[in-house]
């Protein structure tokens, strides 16, 4: 299983294995990583699973879709590599990926 590193706003790091085919959001929820709230459970409606992809991994994580991009316009601090983690499906290539979680979800 690909290992993903989640870094909370306060710097706490989690290194967890996330199954291929599940989402980066699910990886956080299954490991009680608090910095992902995911109020809607992963339907791209609520904007509470915001994460910032480490720039080195941005290409592999991919670009947000149109709906996701609109929601991202509304997060408190948007970065170039901001994504909604429910919309990133984990692949083998993401082994080692690093994502940071925003203050608003801290």
């Amino acid at each position: 299983m690909p290992a993903i590193t989640y870094i909370e706003f306060d710097g706490t790091e989690y290194h967890v294995d996330v199954a291929v085919g599940s989402s980066v959001m699910e990886g956080a929820l299954n490991n009680m990583i608090d910095g992902i709230v995911a109020e809607c459970g992963g339907c791209c409606v609520c904007c509470t699973c915001h994460c910032m992809i480490d720039p080195e991994w941005a290409e592999i994580a991919g670009e947000p879709g149109q709906e996701e991009a609109e929601l991202l316009e509304m997060v408190d601090v948007r970065e170039q590599t901001s994504r909604l983690s429910c919309q990133i499906q984990v692949t083998e290539e993401m082994d080692g990926m690093v994502v940071r979680l925003p203050e608003s979800q801290y």
Binding site: N30, M32, E39, G41, C44, E67, E73
Partner: protein, 411 residues
């Protein structure tokens, strides 16, 4: 909190899962047991009428958390068990197997069940309600051999089911007793839009129409047609009835807890018994933002209220005070609803309701936005949530002017 304490949660849905996680996060040291009438580990309910019904999402993708997560949390499950009795004096639950389970603290996450219609022919094969995984498994089974479906009830569940079945190539008729769809929950504009959407997608919409009987088809066992109050007969190989839900309050009520359109709780999710909390669809709870008590059927409500409930069980005061919100997926349309529109005096529209599939309706009362229905407008929805919480006077002319960036209206 002590190691030999035991917390018991009745029900295993969204509220229960958040509750057990929050219990551990708040330092609950004792055991945690979740008892559920359903035979499944906790699963997501929203996709049942949407992606799971239309076959886009399969059962293994519905789990709310991985099984390993519950192991890590040291939470045990008793599935397929119905709690028959709650003895508050001795703090004991009695299951249908007569097994007795004692508790130090109890959380009721009993949810709601479908309201059933007393219709002649209602027990025919192919007649379904939609609430649980088993319901939708049966619906999928029927759908695999059906060409025509009738949906009784033009609310969100009925319309989502109509869209999902339609995607599977089934001809669908939606029947609604009221003069418009979503009468109870949406404005005229939104109702009209959903009628147009469904008609554009080939769904037949029959308003002011009530089913009076279901008749069997050629086989004699399966439904074959629906008789309407105007005498019309609609052919149907399957029927889904979606006419609302009833909160599951009997267990709490018989035990003497206060009931009023749900299990009555305060803002800390505490019931009238000091060791019992409740969360989710089954509760009638105060909302400080809305300045009234209400019962909600929504996932965000279940999850957020569960956090307050778990805190209470751990002796921590964490008030639940969130703006209610909801969503619905039908065809390529995502509706996001912020707030409760009840009591609005004016509904204004940003965008065009008559063509296309993108606009927002804002509900105004005393020059403030109290709710919004956003059709394929995620940004408007996010702005609406902030504007409602802000409770400041709104410039309606600017709100409906698409030339003005909506974000600039936030103070």
């Amino acid at each position: 909190m002590r190691v030999d304490d035991n917390a018991v949660v009745v029900g295993a849905s969204h509220a229960a899962v958040q509750l057990v996680i929050s219990l551990r996060q708040n330092g609950w040291l004792g055991s945690i047991t979740v008892i559920s009438e359903e035979p499944y580990m906790p699963y997501q309910r929203p996709p049942l009428s949407k992606a799971y019904l239309s076959g886009i999402l399969e059962e293994d993708r519905l789990a709310l958390r991985a099984v390993e997560t519950y192991k890590t949390l040291n939470v045990s499950f008793k599935l397929g068990c119905r709690v028959e009795h709650l003895d508050t004096e001795n703090k004991i639950l009695i299951l249908d197997s007569q097994e007795k389970i004692s508790f130090t603290k109890l959380a009721l996450c009993t949810g709601a069940r479908v309201r059933r219609l007393d219709l002649p022919g209602g027990d025919l094969q192919g007649v379904h309600y939609l609430r649980t995984m088993d319901d939708v498994k049966a619906i999928r089974q029927s759908a695999s051999t059906s060409k025509r479906a009738v949906i009784i009830g033009g609310g969100y569940i009925g319309l989502e089911a109509a869209a999902s079945l339609s995607k599977l190539g089934i001809s669908v008729t939606v029947m609604e007793t009221e003069p418009r769809l979503l009468q109870r929950v949406a404005s005229q504009q939104v109702s009209e839009f959903y009628k147009r959407l469904h008609q554009e997608e080939g769904v037949e919409v029959k308003l002011n129409s009530m089913a009076v009987a279901l008749h069997s088809g050629e086989s004699g066992r399966n439904v074959g047609s629906v008789l309407c109050n105007d005498g019309a007969v609609i052919g149907a190989d399957m029927v889904i009835i979606g006419v609302g839900v009833i909160p599951n309050t009997e267990l709490a009520g018989e035990a003497g807890l206060t009931i009023d359109n749900g299990i009555v709780v305060n803002e800390f999710a505490q019931t009238s018994h000091p060791d019992i909390v409740a969360a989710g669809d089954c509760t009638f709870h105060p909302n400080p933002l809305l300045k009234k008590s209400l019962r909600l059927e929504s996932v965000p409500n279940a999850s957020e209220q569960a956090k307050a409930a778990a805190a209470s069980l751990c002796g921590i005061k964490k008030a639940y005070s969130e703006l209610p919100w909801f969503w619905s997926d039908q065809f390529d349309v995502k509706l996001q609803i912020a707030g409760i529109s009840q009591g609005y005096t004016e509904a204004v529209v940003r965008g065009d309701t008559s063509i296309g599939r993108s606009f927002a309706v804002f509900y105004i009362k005393n020059q403030q936005i109290i709710a919004a229905d956003c059709i394929n407008r995620p940004k408007d929805f996010m702005v609406a949530k902030k504007l409602i919480s802000q409770q400041s006077t709104i410039d309606v002319a600017a709100l409906v002017d698409e030339g003005i960036e909506i974000k600039t209206l936030i103070n």
